[in-house]
């Protein structure tokens, strides 16, 4: 999906937005399979810290990643507003655990810029860029990058 975003950034792109703690973030909506509530998550102890657990998605075992942890936040504490954004990567379904779902917004080319210099590098590394939409700043998550750091 990274490729498709890069191409379509030329025109405009639909972003599925969500909050990681208080930060408004977005993923390319085309890459998001579905968004589910956090149901019964089974913890996998001894797993990497970013793995929040596994869930049953219609008979498939899906690994849930706490992307907040990757962005330098503390460990997520799933609450009633938490959501899991399911994406497909290398033939496998993976869920991104976020604190709250947001809207789907369309962003144009002109709105894009590199992450500001004061974004900590650890966070900036996982971002493709930031944009402004509806008066808010959205950080575009680089899903492929996050996943590759875990492989």
């Amino acid at each position: 999906m990274s490729r498709s975003v890069a191409e379509r950034i030329e025109e405009s792109v639909l972003l599925a937005t969500f909050y990681v703690r208080d930060a408004l973030c977005g993923l390319d909506a085309a890459g998001v399979q579905e968004v589910i509530r956090v149901g019964a998550v089974t913890q996998v102890r001894n797993g990497p810290p970013e793995v929040a657990g596994i869930v049953n998605l219609r008979g498939r075992i899906v690994t849930i990643l706490d992307i907040g942890l990757k962005l330098g936040f503390a460990k997520a504490e799933p609450g009633p507003e938490s959501r899991v954004f399911i994406i497909e990567d290398k033939g496998e379904f993976i869920g991104f655990l976020v604190d709250r779902g947001g809207e789907v917004v369309e962003v144009g080319k002109a709105d894009w810029q590199a992450p500001p210099a004061n974004v900590p590098p650890q966070q900036a590394r996982h971002l493709k860029g930031v944009c402004r939409a509806g008066g808010k700043v959205i950080a575009l998550i680089d899903a492929a990058r996050i996943l590759s750091t875990l492989d």
Partner: protein, 1001 residues
């Protein structure tokens, strides 16, 4: 040229066909080699046809390398068929290698045209030329070019091929198919056309004319020409029947090289000689072919033979599976039923009709189980598909090593899950190799040892108790336990002391440890010190177990036990820290609950580690909680649930918070971020939709730092530690509803349900018809002061044998079997016929004393008279004395009474040390020792060793008494010097044994 634009499905169809052909060729070639000069034409033809159809299709798809190689093999096969070549191991080796290469080319067909096969071609050509008369040899290297009239071009063909093709008066045709009009528009596929041609003749050459297709800029061409040079017995007037194209496009190639369409009459043998130079000599131009190598392909014959026959898996082949159509139909039907049931369920749900909802749920339940069965079946593949590769492997290896080996296979039709079969391939290959390399001796050594020169390796598969057992055995030199032990000591895997304490079987088991190899010299084939441990690891992963058995000089045999399927496995559910986990049932040996009060007694510390005292062993304990969360506090002072698990290499106790049910689970893989965790084998979805992780028993052991060596060492120490805990298996039954009674299970022959009406009263005694005879029946109330059975209870009859007679005890359900270590109280409830009582599961249970009861039930029973005066009269006035060592008071009293009942004298002792004292005090008096095995201070085996080591007592027969003896235990006992094993409380056998051993009749 890569494959032309033909649709991918067609290529796939062709490739699948090739693989099928190639799969059978190997076995056929080996059979051809076996037959030698007695050529089985049908077999050769089959291989020939296979090579031939591979060649035909390859030409069509432009796979020239494949075509060339297939063509050359075909030549050789043709020569074998026509008896120009007598199959010999050398020539068959060349063919085998060529077909291996073909298989490789077919698997990588997209790159095949770039592969260098010169060595193979040279070897095959060399083989052909070696068997041709001098005159014919040149033909191999000469190509003939024949002019095609009207087209102004030449076709080129080897003179040899042409000559071979013409044998038997065959006609040769040049067929020109137009793909579009002749094939596609008639709804045929090129493969079908090729197949029909192959059925009636031989394809010499195929050519796909890309030029005729033109380029995009050209006018769209209406033709795609596909040329076939074809040899058949069909005469020109008949060829039209087979080849459905215009007669203009069928050209006959005359013996003189002239080519003309069959629609035209041949230019009648022109009388004017010299007019056409073609008539003179068919070879118009002779091109010397590549310089011939006289040595057949030395560069390819080595190495390949010892490498796994075709190591790189066939990606395409492994992804597909052949399914019997009836299975597929069954699946379809079930899917239909499932849909129907779902509709019914939906309807019932909307109507809120609970009865119908339940009905639908039941139906779905049924369909699902059936569906599961059928789907599992589709994954089942016969073991034969795996075995099929071994004849070749064994043959090549034996040849390399200069040995003579026959491979026998058995049970090829046994089916096993596809994924297990795949996982089995490597370990089995390794073991078969080992058998040939290390097991079977050289023919000379075998002759010298008085064995047939030819060694035998047997591969068998069979079903046993829901598992598949694969057995690999050889009649070679066997495994020398001392050598294995020496190698293990050298590698530092065991100490010398440990090795000395080991039985032969335990020593042999050491070959499964990393780095142990007994091969004196490292060979190409095996013996590099890696191997059996890898085999074992692989088998562990499949949930398999391996056992070894060997007799020096006679051979070695390995038994692998495997589950039938991996996809759906029965598992035990446990929970810890709020999460549920599944443990595959194949790993579970026993469930043990340790009460809070027993913890101190049952759990001990060995250094820093906790161990569980289990019968005669110490078992390492692993807390699941601390594996999953290393910081977790071990719960102190409460009951423990322990799952005794078996990794295949050793056992350990896994402490969990709670035990739940056994369920069948569907194994699902974990995502890639979690794959690396060795403690998990996968995940599964439970009935409530939640996910549970499946524990990997071997992985958890690794995480806990347990190893087979450590666990075994611990087991070895157990007997010295003086473990006292001993369990008894009891059969529980009801007398009256308030009276629960128990009998040691070993005494019971059978238990059967009986209706009160079946019981007959004759002459004041109760009997029933049982297996064609009259069985005397008794009740407890006949002999002891207990209640009478009532008609309202469900009656059973407990059949046992005492003093050689069968007797049935009437009792009532419910029945239960328990294994208990409970303390037996021999005073409170003691009465005639009741030896004592114990508290089991909160109930007070009466333990029956069968000998006492029998004395009341059968007062007239002939009491065996043990000690007769010896015929000489100078009889031993003193009765034979038996020393009985047994720590449990209850059992000691029982055994004593059993033995005294037949007239022997008994001296008893409560443990081994006491027994030794008594032995010394009564020296000369005691003529036989009967000892329990598990006792504190000095156990039965220790006592035995001490007796055997003392010249005063070494001659005494020793009977070991046991509740249930396993083979291992018996072997250990025999090694210590035990004369016989007898089941505790089996009066008849015990008495018989004492009589026999003391010679008192």
């Amino acid at each position: 040229m890569s494959a032309p634009n033909v649709d991918d499905g067609l290529v796939q169809e062709y490739l699948a066909e090739c693989r099928e052909h190639l799969a059978t060729i190997e076995a056929d070639l080996l059979a051809i080699e076996q037959a030698g000069a007695r050529i089985n034409e049908e077999l050769v033809n089959r291989v020939f046809r296979a090579a031939h159809s591979i060649k035909g299709g390859a030409g069509f798809f432009g796979l020239n390398t494949i075509r060339q190689l297939a063509h050359k093999t075909e030549n050789i096969l043709d020569m074998i068929r026509s008896r120009q070549i007598v199959p010999a191991p050398e020539s068959i080796s060349i063919l085998l290698l060529a077909f291996d290469k073909l298989r490789e080319l077919v698997d990588n067909w997209q790159e095949s045209n770039g592969v260098d096969i010169e060595d193979f071609l040279r070897a095959l050509t060399g083989l052909a030329s070696n068997h041709l008369p001098e005159a014919g040899k040149a033909s191999l290297e000469r190509a003939v070019e024949l002019p095609v009239p009207e087209q102004g071009r030449l076709i080129r063909i080897s003179e040899f091929d042409l000559g071979q093709a013409r044998r038997g008066g065959k006609c040769i045709y040049l067929l020109e198919y137009d793909l579009i009009h002749d094939i596609q528009r008639r709804d045929r596929t090129p493969l079908e056309v090729l197949r029909s041609l192959i059925s009636c003749g031989t394809i010499l050459e195929t050519r796909f004319d890309l030029q005729s297709a033109g380029t995009l800029e050209d006018e769209p061409s209406n033709e795609l020409t596909f040329e076939v040079l074809y040899a058949t017995a069909l005469e020109p007037d008949l060829i039209g029947q087979l080849v459905d194209i215009s007669p203009d496009r069928i050209r006959l190639i005359e013996k003189n090289g002239a080519i003309h369409p069959i629609s035209q009459t041949p230019p009648e043998a022109e009388p004017a000689a010299g007019e056409t130079p073609a008539v003179e000599a068919p070879p118009i131009e002779a091109h010397p072919a590549e310089p011939r190598a006289s040595e057949p392909a030395p560069s390819v014959s080595r190495g390949d033979a010892t490498a796994p026959a075709h190591a790189s898996a066939h990606p395409a082949a492994d992804q597909t599976i052949r399914i019997n159509v009836t299975l597929l139909d069954a699946l379809m039907t079930l899917a239909g039923e499932l849909v129907l049931s779902r509709n019914q369920l939906n309807e019932s749900l909307s109507r809120q009709d609970e009865r119908r909802i339940r009905g639908s749920a039941q139906r779905i339940n049924m369909v699902t189980s059936e569906l599961q069965d059928v789907v599992t079946q589709t994954r089942m593949q016969p073991v034969g598909t795996l075995f099929a590769k071994f004849p070749r492997l064994v043959r090549d290896l034996a040849r390399n090593l200069g040995k003579e080996v026959e491979l026998r296979t058995d049970g090829e039709s046994v089916e096993i899950d596809k994924s297990i079969l795949e996982g089995l391939s490597d370990p089995l290959t390794h073991m078969v190799r080992n058998a040939v390399d290390h097991g079977i001796e050289s023919p000379e050594a075998r002759s010298a040892a008085g064995k047939p020169r030819q060694g035998k390796v047997t591969l068998g598969a069979s079903h046993q108790a829901g598992q598949v057992v694969i057995e690999i055995s050889d009649d070679g030199k066997g495994l020398d336990p001392a050598k294995v032990a020496a190698a293990s000591i050298e590698k530092g895997l065991v100490t010398r002391e440990q090795a000395e304490a080991m039985t032969d079987r335990e020593k042999m088991g050491l070959i499964f440890m990393p780095g142990v190899s007994t091969a004196e010299k490292v060979s190409d084939v095996s013996g590099r010190g890696v191997g059996m441990d890898v085999v074992k690891t692989n088998l562990d992963r499949l949930g398999g177990k391996i056992e070894i058995d060997s007799l020096a000089g006679h051979g070695t045999s390995f038994r692998i036990k495997l589950p039938l399927t991996l996809a759906i496995i029965p598992s035990l559910l446990v929970s810890d820290g709020g999460d549920r986990f599944a443990i595959p049932q194949v790993n579970v040996r026993e469930l043990i609950r340790i009460r809070e009060a027993d913890r101190a007694q049952r759990i001990d510390r060995a250094g820093d580690a906790e161990v569980l005292i289990l019968r005669d062993r110490l078992v390492p304990l692993v807390y699941l909680a601390s594996i999953l969360d290393p910081g977790a506090q071990r719960p102190a002072g409460q009951a423990l649930s322990v799952v005794l698990v078996d990794t295949g290499a050793f056992e350990y106790g896994l402490v969990v918070e709670a035990l739940h049910d056994t369920v069948e689970i569907v194994v699902k893989p974990l995502g890639r971020h979690l794959k690396a965790l060795r403690e998990y084998a996968g995940a599964t979805i439970l009935g409530d939709g939640r996910v549970a992780v499946i524990l990997d028993i071997a992985g958890i052991a690794a995480r806990a730092g347990l190893s087979a060596a450590a666990a075994e060492r611990l087991a070895g120490e157990a007997s010295e530690a003086g473990v006292t805990a001993e369990s008894h298996s009891l059969l529980l039954f009801q007398n009256t509803p308030s009276e629960t009674c128990a009998l040691p299970i070993q005494l019971v022959s059978r238990v059967e349900r009986v209706e009160p009406s079946q019981v007959e009263t004759l002459g004041g005694r109760r009997t029933m018809q049982y297996r064609g005879a009259s069985l005397p029946l008794v009740t407890l109330a006949d002999a002891a002061r207990v209640g009478e059975l009532t008609d309202s209870q469900h009656w059973v009859v407990i059949v046992f044998e005492i003093a050689g007679r069968q007797l049935g005890l009437l009792a009532a359900e419910p029945l239960d079997m328990v294994e208990t270590r409970a303390e037996i109280d021999q005073t409170t409830l003691r009465q005639n016929g009741v030896g004592g009582s114990a508290v089991l599961g909160g109930r007070t249970v009466l333990l029956l004393d069968l000998p006492e009861l029998a004395a009341d039930w059968m007062p007239a029973a002939p009491s065996p008279q043990p000690v007769e005066a010896t015929p000489g009269g100078a009889a031993t006035a003193r009765p034979t004395t038996v020393l009985v060592a047994e720590d449990s008071d209850f059992f000691r009293n029982q055994v004593r009474r059993l033995i005294e009942a037949v007239g022997y004298k008994v001296v008893d002792a409560e443990d081994g040390e006491a027994a030794w004292q008594k032995l010394e005090n009564h020296a000369g008096e005691i003529s036989v020792v009967a000892t329990d095995v598990e006792m504190p201070r000095l156990d039965g085996l220790g006592l035995t060793r001490r007796i055997r080591a003392d010249s005063r007592f070494a001659h005494l027969p020793i009977i070991a008494l046991t509740s249930l003896a396993g083979e291992d235990e018996i072997a250990r006992g025999m090694a210590a010097g035990v004369t016989e094993y007898q089941i505790k409380l089996n009066q008849d056998d015990l008495v018989e044994s004492i009589r026999k051993l003391t010679g008192t009749h």
